[in-house]
């Protein structure tokens, strides 16, 4: 294992906008609760193969209203490295209407990440805003949208200008619903307008071009009081 491989793991582990599936695509009914486990992250070349960065997180979702779900998550992988990494957000159903034998909807999700380490307690705040369109037929839901992640700091180390503040990430996904569980897979094209070569981590280059990288995620959600 060389330096590049090692750093690929640790860098992938902190690619914040890529740390979990979309927590809530379609708001859950009022009063309902669920717990979600998410696994996955940016795809990296490692050990001679391609794997998703093994980011894991645990989240709790609560249906505040029928069209508003609050959620909070804790990134477990970050925690293992001494970084308390929380995400808090709300999914709001903007619109929903029947379409053919199912229904379509549109949701928005403002959220933020709060991170701090247990060594020097350096804390960072990152806002995020997601827009998702979805279509449901019975137990199946497909969705697509844009995950927008924002870096508010103007300067990085050595007072160098932070080159980018808005990271937009096209996303597609699929959910399968059972009575007690929801299974979710998601692909995210991470930062397609940012060059992913000339970086320490060996990110997978979509379509062979260094335009961002691809994230792959799996979500497993347990419905608590449905």
């Amino acid at each position: 294992m060389n330096l590049k491989d090692i750093i690929a793991v640790l860098m992938g582990g902190i690619f914040l906008s890529a740390c979990s599936v979309t927590r809530v695509v379609e708001p859950i009914p009022q009063g309902k609760q669920e717990v979600q486990f998410s696994f996955g992250g940016p795809l990296i070349h490692l050990f001679g193969t391609t794997i998703p960065t093994p980011l894991t997180s645990l989240a709790y979702n609560y249906g505040c209203k029928d069209n508003l779900t609050l959620s909070g998550g804790l990134n477990l992988t970050s925690l293992a490295f001494g970084v308390i990494h929380l995400d808090l957000g709300a999914t709001y159903g903007l619109w929903q209407d029947s379409l053919n034998s199912g229904y379509a909807g549109l949701s928005i999700r403002p959220s933020f990440y709060l991170t701090t380490d247990i060594y020097q307690w350096q804390t960072r705040f990152f806002p995020q805003f997601d827009v998702m369109g979805y279509y449901r037929i019975k137990k199946h839901l497909v969705y697509a949208g844009l995950v927008n992640f924002f870096e508010l700091k103007r300067a990085r180390a050595h007072n160098l200008p932070q080159p980018k503040h808005w990271f937009w990430n096209p996303t597609i996904g699929y959910q399968f619903e059972s009575e007690k569980w929801r299974w979710q897979v998601e692909f995210r094209w991470l930062a397609p307008d940012v060059r992913s070569d000339y970086r320490v981590p060996d990110y997978v280059q979509p379509f062979g071009k260094p335009n961002g990288t691809i994230g792959f995620y799996i979500g497993i959600t347990r419905k608590i009081n449905w």
Binding site: L3, I7, S78, G82, I84, Q120, H158, V200
Partner: protein, 291 residues
């Protein structure tokens, strides 16, 4: 009960959340015996017989660094170190002396065969050297080698310190901090600016380095206090440590005098080859002669 187990697991995770990747960042290769030209491992380049070093000019030795036996090879005549100019070569993270032997031989041909003495050594945990690698170890082991040179009569005004990749950290450190000798010349090849910028460049975001590493490497800040003139090599196609921001930040922060050779098409490990062996040697020789 399940809630208690879950909370216990979570608290346990927090309590033991001290995983650091620092120790894994070092990539030492051990060996029982240095093979030098007979080394059959993968190399970036092999020099022809015209670059061979006479056996009587190759001196394998060991010294103690904080109680650990570390090994080095001096190319040249150890009895004339008190009057020679010496290039101290701080190698990178991969491999050991064998891996960098061809590079050491190149340096032994700067300005002509054996014009300058060359000292190459293995940090703790690399090659035959005892112990485990760490950031402190690479500084201390470099310092120990400088002390060995000083004990042989070398003075700082005849010392060139050359750092490649990870080796740019001890080279820059000892050019900007008080040590056994103050190098008169500083040569860096494919340097990184700092652990912090490495994290931020890889993550795209302004993340504190403490999130993943305890490394304190900060060439970009240390070099502001460097007393030696700088010659910096960096490949434009370096995808491990990109010229911009790493090499350029280090170069910009050096107070001068300084010169940069940005090698078009070179990656992290092939600057001498892509630049051309003769051109590479000439750049170093001209730099030494002109400062």
């Amino acid at each position: 009960m399940r809630k208690i187990i879950f909370l216990g697991a979570l608290i346990g995770l927090i309590a033991f959340s001290c995983a650091r990747l620092d120790s894994f960042l070092f990539n030492p290769y051990k060996t029982d015996e240095y093979k030098l030209d007979a080394y059959d491992g993968k190399l970036q380049f092999r020099l022809g017989p015209e670059f061979d070093i006479p056996q009587d000019k190759i001196h394998l030795f060991s010294i103690s660094s904080q109680g650990y036996k570390i090994w080095g090879i001096y190319i040249g005549d150890t009895t004339t170190i008190s009057s020679d100019t010496v290039i101290l070569y701080c190698h990178g993270n991969t491999g050991h002396i064998d891996y960098y032997w061809q590079r050491a031989k190149l340096l032994a041909h700067v300005g002509g065969k054996l014009r300058y003495g060359v000292l190459i050594f293995d940090y703790r945990g690399y090659g035959k050297s005892e112990g485990e690698p760490s950031e402190e170890a690479i500084y201390e082991d470099t310092k120990a080698m400088m002390q060995w040179l000083k004990d042989k009569g070398l003075t700082g005004d005849r010392l060139v310190i050359y750092g490649y990749s990870m080796g740019t950290a001890p080279a820059t450190y000892w050019s900007s901090h008080d040590g056994p000798l103050t190098p008169r010349w500083l040569i860096l090849e494919a340097p990184f600016a700092s652990a912090e910028l490495m994290v931020q460049d890889g993550a795209y975001f302004v993340l504190p380095k403490q999130y993943v590493t305890d490394l304190e490497i900060n060439n970009a800040e240390w070099i502001k206090n460097a007393k030696a003139p700088l010659l910096l090599f960096h490949g434009t196609e370096d995808k491990l440590l990109a010229l911009d921001p790493h090499g350029k930040t280090v170069f910009d922060n050096h107070p001068g005098p300084k010169q940069a050779v940005f090698v078009e098409g070179a990656t992290h490990s092939d600057v001498p080859v892509i630049l051309g062996i003769e051109a590479y040697i000439s750049e170093i020789y001209n730099f030494i002669k002109s400062h």
